[in-house]
């Protein structure tokens, strides 16, 4: 009986330790469906949802993670093509995972590094591609918005800063 009680206590302690580790690491380990990890955990889950939308070519849903004022103008297929140099139809996202999620000292800017295994359907090549997703919010009580559109759009040099 004493052994079983000890075993039970160890199991409870191990489970609680694991859940604490999941939360304080910002969702670095499987969360078992629990809303753990705080802001970093939230960014991880948004990034994974975004990649799932891309995987299934649901570009409208993928654009919905951007700020409301640019959601309509966010051209996700064009941005994908800019990133991978091929049309989205020629890409097969086989797998993706998060490398890390970080939030800056202000608590209002975040970035998530992802690793995607992508098959280029044209030449049947499989390549690992690192992707960095940037997030922003106006203050700690506001929702997070993705900045993919901002970071991948065609950049033009500002006239005043031209060298």
């Amino acid at each position: 009986m004493k052994i079983w009680l000890s075993l039970f206590a160890v199991l409870v302690l191990a489970t609680l330790s694991y859940l604490a580790a999941v939360h304080f690491s910002g969702g670095a380990f499987p969360t078992l469906g629990l809303p753990l990890g705080g802001d970093r955990g939230h960014l991880r889950s948004v990034a994974l949802q975004f990649m799932e939308d891309i995987e299934f070519k649901d570009f409208e849903q993928a654009a919905s993670y951007h700020a409301p004022e640019i959601q309509d103008s966010a051209d996700i297929p064009f941005l994908i093509q800019r990133l991978f140099k091929v049309k989205p139809e020629a890409l097969n996202f086989m797998d993706y995972e998060i490398v890390f999620a970080k939030i800056d000292s202000s608590g209002n800017r975040g970035r998530v590094k992802m690793r995607a295994k992508v098959e280029f359907l044209g030449n049947k090549q499989i390549r690992d591609q690192d992707i960095m997703l940037f997030f922003e919010r106006s203050d700690t009580s506001s929702p997070w918005y993705m900045k993919l559109e901002d970071s991948l759009r065609n950049q033009t040099a500002e006239k005043a800063k031209k060298s």
């Binding site: 580790a21 690491s25 670095a28 380990f29 995972e97 490398v99 890390f100 590094k113 690793r115 499989i126």
Partner: protein
């Protein structure tokens, strides 16, 4: 396959050994604490480049074999007198060594879990986590086998501890970590195959590959487990000659 008496002896000896270890709680704590500490050091280094690479995988495997060796290298030699006395009363050497393996593998498992969690806390390792954990655990089992063999052969605890670097350094020297594989000489090629770290590292490489060959990873794991069994049996055989203590 294992007689009832041996099974009973394994249970009793494992309980006794575990209680002895629990009596020295500080040592257990230090053993367990070194794993997340090494993991944290790794994240400090590889955090600078914000990604993992094969060198990190190699260091993790090397740490795992280190844990196994250092945990077990004194465990037989320190109680050799008790062992020799109990042999007069029918103690099975196989049961004795098995009881050590059982308890030490529990500690080793806790260490590799803590090591991997400490690294993944900051940096996700490329490849399936559970495969990597299995590889690290299998490498630790080999480390335990090596440590117990040294412990069975050594005359004193100090000599056993001094022998550990002789087990660890070759893991680095006879590996791709030292020089690229294409420059390996004939001897190095053969010796490399006897290094547990090599097989664990192969599992990591397969898991992280763009197109993993899972059957190769499974084969590498099998080699590690067989290697651990052979080393444990060798430690048992090394205890057969009686020693006056």
């Amino acid at each position: 396959m294992i007689s009832r008496t041996s099974r009973k002896q394994i249970g009793i000896l494992a309980c006794r050994y575990f209680e002895t270890l629990l009596g020295d709680f500080r040592s257990i704590f230090l053993l367990l604490a070194q794993a997340p500490l090494i993991g944290w050091f790794c994240t400090l280094v590889w955090g600078s480049i914000e990604r993992d690479d094969p060198k990190l995988h190699f260091i993790l495997c090397l740490s795992a074999v280190w844990f196994g060796c250092i945990n077990s290298c004194r465990e037989i030699v320190k109680e050799r007198a008790i062992l020799e006395r109990e042999r007069f009363f029918g103690l099975s050497l196989f049961a004795y060594v098995s009881s050590k393996v059982w308890v030490l593998s529990g500690i080793g498992l806790a260490q590799v879990i803590l090591l991997q969690m400490a690294v993944e806390w900051e940096l996700n390792l490329k490849g399936p986590m559970f495969l990597q954990l299995a590889a690290l655990f299998a490498v630790t089992l080999c480390g335990i086998g090596l440590g117990l063999l040294v412990s069975a052969l050594a005359g004193t605890q100090e000599r056993a501890v001094f022998a550990v670097p002789l087990l660890i350094i070759p893991q680095i020297l006879f590996s791709e970590f030292a020089i690229p594989k294409k420059y390996f000489g004939d001897v190095v090629t053969v010796v490399e195959k006897f290094m547990p770290v090599r097989w664990g590292f192969q599992v990591f490489l397969e898991g992280a590959a763009s197109e993993p060959r899972w059957h190769y990873a499974a084969l590498d794991l099998l080699v590690l487990i067989l290697y651990a069994v052979v080393l444990t049996l060798a430690a048992t055989v090394a205890l057969i000659p009686r020693r006056e203590v």
